[in-house]
């Protein structure tokens, strides 16, 4: 049973042409003994860490965090540190013909398969765009959720990004299949419009909103038909590209039809900040985390993928930490420069990685600030926080800096360091999928099949 919920109209307020209008429908309030849906968030950053300052010490339930991870102190009971996870699809079968440039490994992070080989007519020289060769686990989970849900969610996967570069490949974590990137939204205002643009005033929908919504649906319906018609004669590879376009059109149409939201869903307030200024990067990440949290809380999605940077991070630097001036390889001491040349006592590297952990803590604060039944959203959520490199200096993908945050209902035993040896990151991904109710015995490259026991 569904009914329309009424909320503030943002149509006039934003007026953006990018406005998408999911009409949200409220599910009946959860019963006395509710079972809340499980959610998963993948957060990926790049350029590695400083191991000695990252990993905790101590015994289960009594961890002493490192200097870098110390901002997570308040949440440490909910953290699992799997130490000894390697990105073996990269280290053992490098698609770059021996080049160690794992800065371009985002396409292998959530797919856990090696990257696609080049596209000869366009890219005979090598790896080109660092395209993934298979579906990523966030997309697989989102699709599985939607296939089994009574009401499919408008966003099977919410994919967002803070800075990094545009264009396909490199910075893309989320893939719907072989060489099929799912681009991430990097503009928080557009992300807001996509998620919350269509909420309404009063008990009846605003006719102007309905009209715009219906118009866009009609236009996309026509576009989809045209794509279908024109793809009939195409060769296999061209048809593949058009199919991705067509799937995207159908996705947006579904988003426009709206979906279910839970009670207590509240769109966040987006500050009038200039998010394009580097000095406002903390505010940008904070806003995007707010949007992800709200989208999960509102039942717009159950899977969020969030890239902070693009793995190379030539355009992220840290004026708010007082790190400035001349880089060692570059004019400004940006994230890449800091990672390549940590400097005396690694002071800058530690400060910047610590800042990322502060933001991780803030995400956990946000998730645990949303009530769900007698607990919080965090109780029903697992967060994978992964750095795509061990260190930005050596470009190693062994012993990756990974933290799993898991709530009380996720069946993951937390508050501990899990010592492992050369386990493929495929296994961790598979285990996390199992934790959110998507069963699998392994993920990605079959050479690295299996799961880890996280309980």
């Amino acid at each position: 049973m569904m009914r329309r919920i009424s909320r503030r109209s943002l149509l006039a307020a934003t007026g953006a042409s990018g406005l998408l209008l999911p009409l949200l429908t409220e599910e009946l309030a959860f019963g006395a003994d509710p079972v809340f849906p499980k959610r998963i968030i993948f957060v990926v950053t790049g350029n590695g860490t400083i191991e000695n300052s990252f990993w905790p010490t101590g015994t289960d339930g009594n961890l002493t965090l490192g200097e870098i991870t110390s901002p997570l102190e308040a949440h440490k009971a909910k953290l699992l540190f799997p130490k000894g996870i390697d990105m073996r699809v990269w280290s053992e079968d490098n698609p770059f013909g021996g080049n160690g440039d794992a800065h371009h490994n985002f396409g292998a992070v959530l797919t856990a398969t090696k990257l696609a080989t080049g596209d000869p007519p366009h890219d005979p020289g090598g790896p080109g765009l660092a395209l993934a060769s298979s579906i990523s686990i966030d997309q697989h989970i989102g699709r599985t959720f939607n296939a089994t849900a009574q009401t499919p969610l408008p966003f099977p996967v919410l994919s967002a990004r803070a800075w990094g570069r545009d264009g396909t490949g490199y910075a893309t974590l989320s893939w719907t299949g072989n060489r099929a990137p799912f681009s991430a939204e990097s503009d928080p205002r557009r992300l807001f419009s996509s998620l919350f643009g269509g909420v309404m005033t009063g008990t009846t929908p605003d006719p102007a909103v309905v009209r715009l919504l219906k118009t866009r649906q009609s236009v996309l319906d026509y576009v989809g038909t045209s794509l279908e018609r024109q793809s009939m004669r195409l060769g296999t590879e061209d048809r593949r590209k058009i199919q991705i376009h067509l799937d995207a059109v159908r996705n947006i149409e579904r988003q426009l039809q709206g979906g279910a939201v839970t009670t207590g869903c509240k769109p966040p307030t987006l500050a009038a900040t200039d998010f394009k200024l580097m000095a406002n990067f903390p505010a940008l990440v904070d806003a995007e985390m707010d949007l992800i949290t709200a989208a999960l809380a509102c039942g717009l999605t159950r899977v969020a993928t969030y890239a902070i940077g693009d793995g190379e991070d030539y355009n992220i630097y840290f004026p708010w930490l007082g790190i400035g001036g001349k880089g060692i390889e570059f004019p400004t001491r940006h994230k890449h420069d800091i990672a390549h040349r940590p400097g005396v006592n690694n002071v800058d590297k530690i400060a910047t990685e610590k800042w990322f952990m502060t933001m991780f803590a803030r995400l956990l604060d946000k998730l645990s600030g949303v009530p769900e039944g007698s607990g919080t959203l965090l109780d029903n959520t697992v967060v994978l926080w992964l750095n795509s490199l061990n260190s930005g200096f050596g470009h190693s993908v062994l012993k990756m800096p990974i933290i799993v945050a898991a709530g009380a209902n996720m069946g993951i035993r937390t508050g501990r360091l899990m010592e492992l040896r050369n386990e493929a990151h495929n296994k961790l991904l598979a285990s996390l999928a199992n934790a959110v109710g998507v069963p699998m015995t392994g993920w990605g490259d079959p050479r690295f099949t299996g799961t880890l026991n996280l309980a």
Partner: protein
């Protein structure tokens, strides 16, 4: 002359090839059509040009993957489609970025959810910005049947938007959309409003967004190949030469079936080259060929290069564009001219930066100086320089990739790709000696660094310098060109050697072909590759003539059928 050109090519193995580094192996590989594929060094085996438009049995051409309009093409096309359009594409509109592909010209990527939204934004913003200037706002319907008028409108405007006539079923789809917009009680749009939304829909449709001017029609088979039809040819010409949609003349030629032979294509190409829109395309080719994309965001260390102000970036780009335009538009538009012409054009800022005095037109005579042609210009030197020093490796790699069509493989694993901090007691060349003394490095770096060191008189920010931190500069080296090892004393000598090298000229024709057909040449394109190199030599390397000749060749007019393509009517 030709046999000399091919003598080196014959030694080159087939595409695709990137030779692994190390073990004393030759460093560079080669991409492109293998010369052996036609069996004859003079290029007369195999069909390069089909005089009557029919390639016939045995002719070959590479595949042509489906391609969407890129960023620049989209902007140009919208401006040509709607002359009244006033959209600021730099600040208000976010278009999907194209992908920079190493070794190639940029290409648009896949359309996923985000891009669908961007195209929706673009279509809505375009119509909103046009207002009463939208073609849909100017439809006057004389008859009583508005739907008939709508049908006429979508057919006529659709032909411009899709660059070909619409199939009946496509018109029906658009009229059905129009009718729904008019009659649905929740939408209930007026006549012109509904047509405006139909225009939005067309701008999001594959007919507009993809280079697909065949529409729903079956491909025309010609032997084992597919021949592009007249509307496809019109767009192949216009997107090659103008980065935009065909003009009225070109569409009329397509309507009349006058784009079916190489001579007809060449006639149109020659006409279009005279249009100022071709200037932009030549500038686009030059800046992409020279890998100047990063220039707009280039930052230099102010402590090392205090005079390199952000405004200089545009001045440097303008210098390269103005110079190449002057050469390519002039009486001798040759490769050698681009590389060695002893003059340039600077604005006041760049004149001060270089320390030169231009004449009233901005022209500077460079005779007798250390600069000449494109390669020693500020833009090239600054983009291929690091922020605080030169980068002989990047400069050398650039020369190999872009001037000699060679591929340098990436460094072996576990190599730290940056140098240790600078040692002020040594020149950079001395500091980089490790590259040449370590065998695994030397196989590539011996060649690459030697080419790069030639430019050591140009600092990391593109200015001339007499010495390297007080140490004298050794810019000498040697290079193997056209099968012979030759030595040079500095950049001017290296540039002159390149300018007179058949190998480099031939590479230049390949770069143009790649730009024209949006892909790398394949073995099946070998006859055309040979034909273009030979015709370029025969014309005294007349680059405008080369551009015209490209439109006559089989890779321009024909393609191999794609795997899985439905060829039956």
């Amino acid at each position: 002359m030709l046999s000399r050109t091919w003598s080196w090519l014959v030694r080159i193995p087939f595409w695709p090839l990137v030779v692994a580094a190390g073990g004393g192996a030759a460093c560079t590989g080669y991409i492109g059509a293998g010369a052996g594929s036609t069996g004859s060094p003079n290029g007369d085996a195999g069909v390069a040009v089909a005089p009557d438009g029919k390639a016939g049995v045995g002719a070959t051409a590479g595949p042509t993957p489906l391609r969407r309009l890129g960023r620049v093409e989209l902007i140009h096309t919208l401006r040509d489609l709607f002359p009244a359009l006033q959209l600021d594409f730099d600040s208000n509109i976010e278009l999907p970025a194209d992908n920079d592909i190493q070794l190639a010209f940029s290409l648009p990527g896949i359309v996923s959810d985000l891009e669908v939204k961007r195209f929706m934004d673009l279509a809505e913003a375009t119509l909103a910005s046009l207002g009463t200037n939208a073609p849909s706002s100017r439809v006057a319907c004389a008859g009583s049947d508005l739907t008939d008028c709508a049908r006429t409108f979508v057919s006529t405007f659709g032909k411009r938007a899709f660059r070909r006539p619409l199939d009946r079923v496509e018109v029906d789809d658009l009229v059905a959309l129009y009718t729904k917009l008019r009659t649905d009680p929740q939408m209930n749009y007026g006549f012109q409003e509904a047509l405006g939304i139909v225009v939005q829909a067309m701008l999001q449709s594959p007919g507009f967004l993809y280079r697909w001017e065949r529409g729903l029609a079956p491909p025309q088979l010609d032997g084992a190949l597919v021949k592009f039809d007249d509307y496809e040819m019109a767009s192949r010409l216009s997107y090659f030469l103008w980065n935009s949609m065909p003009d009225v003349t070109l569409m009329a030629a397509a309507d009349a079936g006058n784009l079916g032979t190489p001579d007809q294509m060449a006639e149109q190409a020659a006409r279009m080259l005279k249009d100022p829109r071709a200037d932009e395309t030549m500038a686009d080719f030059i800046t992409q060929w020279l890998e100047l994309g990063p220039l707009s965001g280039l930052i230099k260390d102010a402590a090392v290069y205090p005079a390199f102000k952000p405004e200089l970036r545009e001045s440097m780009r303008a210098e390269t564009v103005a110079f190449s335009r002057d050469v390519l538009r002039g009486g001798s538009p040759t490769f050698a001219g681009l590389l060695t012409a002893p003059y340039t054009f600077v604005d006041a800022r760049l004149a001060e930066y270089y320390g030169v005095i231009p004449d009233a037109t901005g022209r500077v005579d460079l005779s007798g100086t250390s600069r000449l042609g494109l390669l020693t210009q500020g833009a090239v030197m600054a983009v291929k320089g690091n922020s605080y020093r030169t980068s002989p490796v990047r400069r050398g790699k650039f020369i190999l990739n872009r001037m000699l069509c060679s591929v340098v493989p990436p460094p072996p694993p576990n190599v730290v790709p940056e140098l240790p901090p600078p040692d002020p007691t040594k020149t950079l060349r001395e500091q980089m000696a490790m590259h040449r003394s370590t065998p695994s490095c030397a196989s590539c770096h011996t060649t690459m660094d030697a080419l790069g060191f030639a430019f050591e008189h140009f600092d990391g920010a593109g200015n001339y310098r007499n010495d390297d931190g007080g140490h004298p500069i050794d810019a000498s080296g040697s290079v193997t060109l056209d099968g012979a090892t030759v030595t040079f004393r500095d950049a001017t000598e290296l540039v002159r050697l390149l300018a007179s090298s058949g190998e480099a000229r031939e590479c230049f024709t390949r770069q143009w072909l790649r730009y024209a057909i949006d892909r790398f040449e394949q073995p099946a394109d070998a006859p055309a590759v040979h034909y273009l190199a030979s015709s370029y030599e025969g014309s005294g390397s007349h680059t405008r003539d080369l551009i015209v000749q490209i439109t006559r060749t089989l890779p321009f007019s024909h393609r191999a059928p794609a795997d899985g393509e439905v060829l039956t009517p």
